[in-house]
Symmetry: D2
Subunit: 133 residues, 4 copies
């Protein structure tokens, strides 16, 4: 399953070279990831209230072509792994009306216990939803 | 008393118009404010651990002249009011080696109870330090 | 005329106090402003290509109540002044499904010549569109 | 050669999970990279004025342990490749007074012609300085 989120590029996302600053795509991967999880029924506020955090442990991004102020981007997010130990996603970012891929990426989250900060296993009530992804 | 913090402007602080994005100066006011409070002996982590938060209630900024990538800025912070109810600061931002003021600003924080979210009075142990400012 | 833009609050918009960082609303005023100008037919890329920039000269914000991760916000933008010399807007931010105002604000832009950096008058072709706002 | 830059973590760098947002380290890699280039005599403003841009083509980051508001971080930057076609750097981020590594990373920039947007070769006057790194 691939979930597509949209993002309209703002002035504050660009830099003095006239293009979107590369760090912002990492933030937009997060928009894609949260949207994906929402689509399969996972509410991250509920998960946090249950004492489970999901820190990022790895990020990779490849930048193929720039985007600009006022571009409307599509963030295509696909799950690579959704286990009780980790979530891994792949991302493809392109303009909504173009197939050409601008940025590709990968992220890995693990699950931790909010109190102890230690690695934890995802409870069944959330894990069962992962099957939707 | 005026406390001066320094900030080196990064690519990610600029925008496609070639200058620092105006929203970033609001963040740099915070750098100035935190540095000011540190200088008078106030540790914001300790204050948060004591259950006191200090949300911003007002911001004002006047932009006179732009800054650019690689500029080294001075953020001059002065206290206007430091009471048990609020903190108010004024800011002047200029290049470290120039008197010309680029941005001026004002901020107001109030104190709130972390648990209730309600307005609270600053405890004496912090208030007594405010006299240093 | 009031134009409403929407924004879904992300993790990266919040801070360690658990709420949206105050500097981000200043960025969301920009989202509102750009959306307003688009609604009356003004394309900022075209304006920049015509050698006209529109730097911010004043910002004011009053923070009444916090927003949180995953809130969906409405940014209501109204023009206060749209002349050949400046644009002034007022903003009201609230959750899309609530009337309670979280943040109010004001901004002023002036028009400058991209080459000289000096204040300029907005050309008629853009000014005539301002009447729509 | 390793060049170390410092960064004091701000409220606006943290998120609602109480730690530094992972996207910010990507920005701090840039602080490390610019500082490294400055140390070997490369002025990026001069390079841009000469019509050479240096877009990021790859980013990787591994997150081992969190940082928090008010931490003072060291960004250790080492060059992996400095050729006429690309720059590659590795990063290690730790607290200034601790050896424990919080975040490691990698970046690749290529050189492009500002006018054409095409890949270009770094001119000798800049390449000769690369030997210092």
């Amino acid at each position: 399953m691939t979930i597509t989120a949209k993002y309209h590029v703002n002035f504050f996302d660009t830099d003095t070279m006239g293009v979107t600053h590369h760090s912002n795509y990492i933030r937009w991967f997060e928009i894609g990831r949260v949207e994906f999880l929402r689509a399969i029924g996972i509410d991250l506020n509920a998960m946090m209230a249950d004492g489970i955090l999901f820190p990022i442990t790895k990020i990779e991004a490849q930048y193929h072509s720039p985007s600009y102020f006022d571009d409307i981007l599509a963030i295509d997010t696909t799950a690579v792994a959704l286990t009780k130990a980790k979530m891994e996603f792949e991302y493809k970012i392109h303009r909504v009306d173009e197939e050409k891929i601008l940025v590709t990426g990968f992220s890995q989250n693990v699950f931790t216990n909010k109190e102890t900060g230690k690695i934890t296993r995802l409870p069944e009530k959330y894990y069962s939803l992962m099957g939707n992804g």
